[in-house]
């Protein structure tokens, strides 16, 4: 049996599928608890249902992008491991880089099926899990104390309304910082000559389409469009990438 056939065997699917199923159950459990808690503190069920719908539509497109990551990695690692890695804890940009570097560390010329051995595969799998586990590990030990210290979870809505919402301003600013780091990197890449203009063009198109969505939602009373604004803008940006690319 070839190494890829072994990596794609039912036992491998069973191991990976069990972990994914466990994490999916945890998500369902947390979702039901949050919904019930929302009802018990008097939140509007319509708002919570809108959150679920908007989050589902928001996630659909990036998920297809992540599926491509599974496909890309499946040629050398089989399908079950990339499926596990990108369903649980992983990130598309991370997995690809670590898998490549791990393959080189175990003596392969790169990530490819022809050189893959069972020992190289299990080492790569361990490294992929180990390098990115710190967020989860820190959650176990520090989240309760960390959130308690910053007081975020204890602030009541009434104090928020009267207290000026510094946390809210800081959070919006943090997100502006996050977006600026990425948009700044596209500009830097292009101006310094180490990258091309396509990411900038895609970002501009997506931003312009988002402007149209916001205009329609706010000025033309089409509030329902808001749930599709991010996904719609992304589709437009990605379509632009196909046209420009």
């Amino acid at each position: 049996m070839s190494i890829l056939a072994q990596l794609n065997s039912p036992v491998m699917y069973l191991i990976c599928g069990t972990i994914i199923a466990f994490v999916a159950l945890v998500c369902v459990f947390f979702m039901i608890r949050a919904y019930k808690a929302g009802i018990s503190i008097g939140m509007d069920p319509v708002k919570m249902k809108r959150t679920i719908t908007a989050s589902a539509t928001f996630t659909l497109l990036p998920s297809i992008g992540i599926l491509l990551g599974v496909i890309a990695l499946s040629g050398s690692l089989g399908t079950p491991l990339p499926w596990l890695r990108l369903s649980v804890i992983g990130a598309l940009h991370y997995e690809t880089q670590v898998a490549e570097a791990a393959a080189e560390a175990v003596g392969l010329s790169g990530l490819n099926a022809t050189e893959m051995t069972a020992e190289a595969f299990t080492t790569i799998a361990l490294l992929m899990s180990f390098c990115i586990m710190w967020g989860m590990l820190m959650s176990v030990f520090f989240t309760k104390r960390y959130l308690g210290k910053i007081g975020g979870s204890k602030k009541s809505e009434s104090s928020e309304n009267s207290g000026g919402g510094i946390g809210d301003i800081a959070m919006t600013a943090m997100f502006i910082g996050l977006v600026s780091a990425y948009v700044g990197s596209y500009i830097g890449d292009f101006v310094s000559g180490s990258g091309d203009w396509l990411p900038i063009a895609v970002a501009v198109v997506a931003g312009a389409v988002m402007a149209v969505f916001i205009y329609l939602a706010e000025k033309k009373n089409l509030g329902w469009l808001e749930s599709f604004s991010i996904a719609g803008s992304m589709i437009a940006g990605m379509a632009a990438a196909v046209l420009f690319g």
Partner: protein, 229 residues
């Protein structure tokens, strides 16, 4: 139900979120670290620990620091339930964080409130489940889907998922906040132009970028309060 009772109910929910979150994280960690050994048992070859250490020194240290930075930045944004789920399911920057922030803004929940905690948990749980379902369907359909998804004509689109996301989010967050956004973008753009190698560490650069934006926001907030007086 009085405000006092609501707060008590929320506190009880929040405390249990920590308990359940920790248990779920410990079990997931054990399974993720155990899986390569279980696979090794089945394949008849355990991980090469010398290769593992070499690989960790090459790439692991960098990613470990990145993970810790992400934890420090995003946990306060997401609250208890949301952060346990987000760190279990991953894809934070490109999916979970924008998804939770989008949901929060859509329903008008304020940061640090019980509403934000609930919305963030609902949003991240939904997002994670959709990803799990899409990947599961995709894996089942992998063979017939492969020619379509890997068509060379579509590759630029999937290579540009992240710029498309940040372009859309940039418009949403920059408008109305130009005094914070423009200086931050100019500083970051200049930094990336002057030190092009930093583009390989964009996730680290979120920290200084966020610090600049938060600093500006606090200064502007202070000024506007003074002006109001």
């Amino acid at each position: 139900m009085s405000d006092l009772e609501k707060n008590a109910a929320f506190e009880a929910y929040n405390q249990k979120s920590h308990t359940y979150g920790r248990i779920a994280c410990i079990i997931t960690l054990a399974m993720l670290i155990g899986a390569p050994f279980l696979m090794g048992f089945y394949l008849g070859a355990m991980p090469d620990m010398a290769g593992f250490v070499r690989g960790f020194l090459a790439v692991g240290l960098v990613w470990s620091v990145s993970c810790i930075a992400e934890y420090l930045v995003y946990t306060p944004m997401l609250g208890a339930g949301g952060s346990y789920l987000a760190f279990m399911t991953g894809n934070l920057i490109n999916m979970k964080i924008p998804c939770a922030v989008n949901a929060r803004d859509m329903v008008g929940a304020k940061a640090g409130t019980p509403e934000n905690e609930i919305i963030s948990t609902l949003s991240i749980a939904t997002s994670s489940l959709v990803t799990v379902v899409v990947l599961a369907i995709g894996v089942v359909m992998l063979i017939p889907l492969q020619p379509i998804l890997q068509a060379p004509a579509l590759q630029p689109a999937f290579d540009c998922v992240v710029p498309a996301l940040f372009g859309a989010m940039a418009y949403k967050y920059y408008r109305g906040n130009l005094k914070i956004a423009l200086p931050t973008l100019i500083v970051m753009g200049t930094l990336f132009i002057l030190v092009p190698s930093l583009t390989g560490s964009t996730s680290f650069m979120i920290l200084p970028s966020g610090a600049i934006a938060i600093g500006l926001a606090l200064v502007l907030n202070k000024k506007s309060k003074k002006g109001a007086k």
